[in-house]
């Protein structure tokens, strides 16, 4: 599995996304630019410039027409994927840590930071795909305020029915996607261990969380039941569920501020593969020389990309052995 090394960023990566077709990769980093790459060969397609601060988050609409980014310059920007134009800017009082489109692309959520007297919020913006992409609603259609512990990550369940949010205190909550009413709150991770990532399965009925408490959990979007737990030996920054094969990929490593004189072996800067059902670790991929900040998998399950504190994006296309690997019990089930 030879990686393709994408070195287009000058600072640490914050998020990577494949588009729904899987032919493009969008990456954002602290260096204020958004990069678009061809996933097949790692050629850079272009950049989207305009943000004034570190970009924390990126998402691409399911039809690959619009790109949304959230940044430390307190804005959410909407871009025309094809032309690279910025079609809309929403201003927020604080930094935006996470954006995500609904499965049908009609709405966008934005998680804002708690700072300077402002509480953390989740804002929902309606997105229009008219002739003129710049004609978008100015005000959010819904605003959820996180009174107790700020949300760090959030996403949409199937049909956009629920908004699932992970919090700074290690809990996960479920909000009604229409009314914003909090339906459920579960202390999924150890108390006061921030949830760093939350990614959904393809059908969005379950999701995986990655936390500072060195574990990742697979949870049901319907009732927040914890289905599986994956234990690692290092704080986790990101986790993703692979389609096609029943694996999950976790990324993390010793936090940058804790890494002092330690060698790479010490930092545990590896992508870890776990079996989704059996919770066993089945493999690791080395390469980064800083903690992994983000991992995302190709929607067809044929490749994954990881972005690290070291400023590199590594795209790995899976080998045959990846697809062939199977537990004996799984093989048995297949035969039946």
């Amino acid at each position: 599995m030879r990686p393709i090394l994408l070195s287009g960023h000058e600072r640490s990566l914050n998020q990577i996304k494949f588009n729904r077709d899987g032919d493009l990769i969008f990456s954002v980093a602290k260096d204020k630019i958004v990069c678009a790459w061809w996933s097949a060969n790692g050629e850079r397609l272009g950049t989207y410039t305009g943000h004034q601060g570190a970009i924390w988050t990126v998402d691409v609409s399911p039809n690959t027409i619009l790109l949304a980014t959230g940044s430390a310059d307190n804005t959410v920007r909407l871009w025309n994927v094809k032309t690279g134009e910025c079609v809309k800017v929403w201003d927020f009082p604080t930094a935006v840590k996470r954006v995500e489109f609904t499965p049908d692309g009609s709405r966008l959520l934005a998680v804002t930071e708690k700072r300077m007297g402002f509480l953390g919020t989740i804002a929902v913006l309606d997105i229009a795909y008219g002739e003129d992409l710049t004609s978008q609603a100015d005000e959010p259609s819904l605003r959820i305020t996180c009174e107790e512990s700020k949300a760090t990550v959030a996403g949409w369940s199937f049909m956009g029915k629920y908004i699932i949010a992970g919090h700074e205190d290690g809990s996960v909550s479920q909000y009604d996607g229409k009314t914003g009413e909090q339906l459920e709150n579960v202390q999924a991770h150890e108390f006061d261990h921030q949830i760093n990532d939350l990614q959904f399965s393809t059908d969005r009925t379950y999701f995986i969380t990655a936390s500072k408490d060195k574990s990742a959990k697979l949870m049901s979007a319907r009732n927040l039941a914890i289905l599986k737990t994956y234990v690692a030996d290092t704080p986790l920054n990101s986790a993703t569920i692979t389609p096609k094969k029943d694996y999950v990929i976790l990324g993390g490593g010793q936090a940058a501020m804790d890494v002092t004189t330690t060698s790479a072996r010490q930092g545990k800067f590896e992508a870890r593969f776990y079996h989704k059902v059996f919770e066993d670790e089945i493999g690791r991929v080395r390469g980064h020389f800083g903690p992994l900040n983000t991992v995302h998998v190709h929607p067809n399950g044929t490749a994954y990309a990881s972005g690290g504190e070291d400023g590199y994006v590594r795209v790995h296309h899976f080998d045959k052995s990846y697809f062939d690997f199977m537990y004996e019990v799984e093989r048995e089930q297949m035969r039946r």
Binding site: R20, D21, S61, D104, A128, M159, D203, F278, Q333
Partner: protein, 742 residues
């Protein structure tokens, strides 16, 4: 449950939450009454009855005694006179301070005044408290004898069907005891949060597990590790068991302050640092002030040497009959157990004594019939007198062998585990004091006249030395010249020595082999001998652990034919950041561990076989301590042991089969769970799909609501297209030619 001293009763062990403890009975029993002024008074009884005329004379006579412990005067002594103009035989005395009164009670009680009279000194308040009417029953009531209670089996762990060993694991705030299951995860016996405050320690035969708290030491034992004993030594820091588990020594840097009414400690213990306890009764036998803290300025007038805790402060003889303590440069005090009286009522004066060690086993010397324990000590050069190493026989206190040494800068004493040899490692400096060399002087204790063999002087200093348990071989590590620059570890050499084969008795010690250019600094012999682990611990750059076999069963090099050893390196493993290495008591497993007490990188422990094969790695967060539970000596006779060794192959066949069977069972179990887990998952997914379909129905949205096509203006994405083929044209320069035209 957090087992601490606050929970004094046994039943608290089984309660999840700490309840308010009813102390009223204890309070009543040990109630302290503060009565202003009265605690400077003592009552002296047992005085002669004298007529009023001689009263003053008696008081004057008495004052001489009374003023030895504090300050009082004639006016402060009140001796009542009855109607017959005679004294009553007692007197009230007021001291200046309550401390002096306490000292008087402590030191004058039971002291003879003359041939006929013995003083009985009590505090006035005590007389008041205990002498008051009703406090003590007039009639004698025989003490009720508690019905016999079956005690827990303290050695039940030895009865494990598979002869597994236990170990204690201290990580984070939790201490657990586990069964070692080779490469399988260890099986938990108990796991308790906050079981100890400082560390845990097994007793030498594995009966008890000691936990250390600010309030004292607690011992735990039995199948469920229930509380066995408590030793309330406030702020205890160090603990040591006697070799037979009968006694316990505890030490605290802070002198003990005994409050009045303490259930266990008495005034005897006030101001002391060390207590020797009887484990069975749970009572202190005797307490001491530690020497290190009261030590005066250095003997030679140099800069005062750094004060160090002398630990173990008290060293036990092998049979626990004696315990000895050294007052550095002056004397060794030997106490007899169980009374803890000074042997022969005096300490053994040895000018300049630096260190001593008991023989770890009771030795029968050739030609010596009477019972004895041996003790080895050394003194440095004082003035023109040479340095001296001597063996003393106890209880006779006779010096049985002594040897004079010159140019000595330091000496270390190493007994072989059976007491057959004692190796005296002598660090010698050259006349100019510039270079150092080491001599090994080995006393052959069992042989007639205790001959001393000198192993050729080694040019380098020996930094570590270890005897083979129950054997005659040893390993040492020498330190070469340290290269300049502190970052590089000094290279060390590891040397293996063995006696020559010479009939029944062991011959001279000869070097088997020296391995140079190592970084090793620690030696760990298997408790059964033969195998030895040489490792680099506490290092930041080197972590190798070498497993050596001293009786390799293969071919033997020609040159080593006469030696009782065949050295072979079995394996070298690395354990990043290793700080400790422990053999299990049977010599089957070796555990290397990296403790957070030393550094915080990759803490945890690894289990290896005796041959260096790594069985399991257990990275553990905030790992602190790993200790194997020791085993008592085998009960099998020599013949039975021989029988076992003879039939080893048959046994091992049996065990191999058992192991295989266990693996099969385990594998089936794993497969079964996997099957179950997979089926559950598939069922969950199916159910979720149904829910999803229902939801979509209920909301009246089409089946493909979540697909990208719903977004307006979406380009048609056909699913059947499947994988896309990306064609890429790569231009490569095959050749480049540069032609100069002109």
């Amino acid at each position: 449950m957090a087992p601490s001293f606050d929970t004094l009763t046994e039943q608290d062990l089984h309660e999840e939450e700490e309840e308010e403890i009813d102390f009223s009975d204890l309070k009543e029993q040990y109630e302290v009454k503060i009565e202003e002024g009265l605690d400077t008074f003592v009552v002296i009884d047992g005085l002669p009855v004298v007529p009023e005329d001689s009263r003053q004379k008696l008081i004057k006579f008495l004052l001489r005694k009374l003023n030895t412990v504090g300050h009082t005067s004639e006016d402060a002594v009140f001796m009542p006179i009855n109607d017959k103009n005679m004294s009553e035989g007692f007197a009230f005395v007021e001291y200046e301070t309550p401390e002096q009164a306490v000292a008087a009670v402590k030191q004058l009680h039971g002291v003879p005044l003359d041939k006929k009279h013995t003083l009985a000194v009590n505090k006035l308040m005590d007389i008041d408290r205990y002498g008051r009417e009703g406090r003590i029953d007039e009639e004698y009531k025989p003490p009720t004898i508690e019905p016999f209670k079956e005690k827990e089996h303290l050695r039940s762990w030895l009865g494990d069907a598979n002869a597994r060993d236990q170990f204690a694991l201290y990580r984070n705030d939790k201490v657990g005891v586990f069964w070692n299951n080779k490469n399988n995860p260890p099986e938990n016996v108990v796991d308790r949060a906050h079981w100890t405050q400082l560390f845990v320690q097994w007793s030498p035969k594995g009966t008890y597990l000691a936990s250390v708290h600010p309030q004292g030491v607690q011992l735990w034992g039995g199948p469920a590790f229930s509380k066995q004993k408590q030793f309330p030594h406030p702020f205890v820091q160090l603990v040591e068991f006697s070799p037979g588990e009968s006694y316990l020594t505890t030490w605290s840097a802070r002198p003990i302050q005994v409050e009045e009414g303490h259930p266990v400690l008495t005034y005897e213990e006030d101001g002391k640092n060390i207590i020797i306890w009887d484990i069975v009764t749970g009572k202190p036998l005797r307490s001491f002030v530690s020497h290190d803290l009261t030590a005066g300025p250095g003997a030679e007038g140099d800069a005062q040497p750094k004060k160090k805790v002398q630990w173990p402060a008290f060293k036990w003889s092998a049979d626990e009959k004696y315990v000895a303590r050294m007052l550095q440069n002056q004397s060794i005090s030997i106490y007899e157990l169980p009374r803890m009286n000074l042997l022969g009522k005096t300490s053994v004066k040895i000018d300049g004594v630096m260190d001593f060690e008991w023989s770890p086993a009771t030795v029968n010397r050739e030609g010596v019939k009477q019972y004895e324990q041996l003790l080895c000590f050394w003194t440095p050069e004082i003035g023109s007198n040479p340095a001296r190493v001597a063996l003393m026989s106890v209880p006779s206190k006779e010096i049985v062998r002594t040897r004079n040494l010159f140019n000595v800068s330091d000496v270390k004493l190493h007994w072989q585990s059976q007491g057959t040899y004692v190796c005296v490692k002598v660090d010698r400096h050259s006349k100019s004091k510039k270079s150092m060399a080491t001599n090994l002087e080995i006393f052959r204790v069992r042989e007639k006249g205790v001959p001393v063999e000198v192993v050729d002087s080694l040019k380098d200093t020996v930094i570590n030395f270890a005897w083979e348990p129950n054997g005659g071989r040893f390993v040492l590590i020498t330190n070469g010249e340290a290269p300049s620059g502190a970052a590089v570890l000094p290279k060390t050499s590891v040397s293996f020595f063995a006696p020559e084969k010479k009939g029944v008795s062991a011959g001279n010690f000869k070097l088997v082999r020296t391995i140079e250019k190592k970084t090793s600094n620690a030696i760990y012999w298997s408790p059964k001998g033969r195998f030895v682990v040489v490792a680099t611990v506490h290092s930041q750059t080197s972590f190798d652990i070498d497993f050596w076999d001293m009786d390799f069963e293969g071919e033997k090099p020609e040159g080593e034919k006469d030696l009782a050893a065949n050295l072979q390196l079995m394996k070298t493993v690395e354990h990043y950041g290793v700080t400790d290495i422990d053999w299990d008591p049977t010599g089957r497993y070796v555990v290397s561990s990296a403790s957070v007490w030393t550094h915080s990188m990759e803490n945890g422990y690894n289990i290896h076989t005796f041959a260096g094969q790594t069985l399991a790695e257990h990275p553990t967060d905030k790992f602190k301590q790993f200790i194997w539970r020791p085993r008592p000596a085998t009960l099998l006779s020599k013949e039975e042991q021989k029988q076992v060794r003879k039939n080893l192959r048959e046994y091992s066949k049996e065990f191999d089969e058992e192991d295989k069977y266990a693996v099969d069972i385990a594998n089936t179990a794993v497969v079964e769970t996997r099957k179950r887990v997979l089926n559950e998952w598939v069922a969950w997914i199916r159910r979720e799909k149904e829910f999803l379909a229902e939801d979509k129905d209920a909301f009246g949205v089409p089946e493909d609501v979540d697909s990208a096509k719903q977004a307006r203006d979406a380009p048609a994405v056909s699913d059947d297209q499947g994988e896309t083929v990306v064609e890429e044209i790569v231009e490569e320069i095959i050749e480049e030619n540069e032609e100069v035209i002109g």
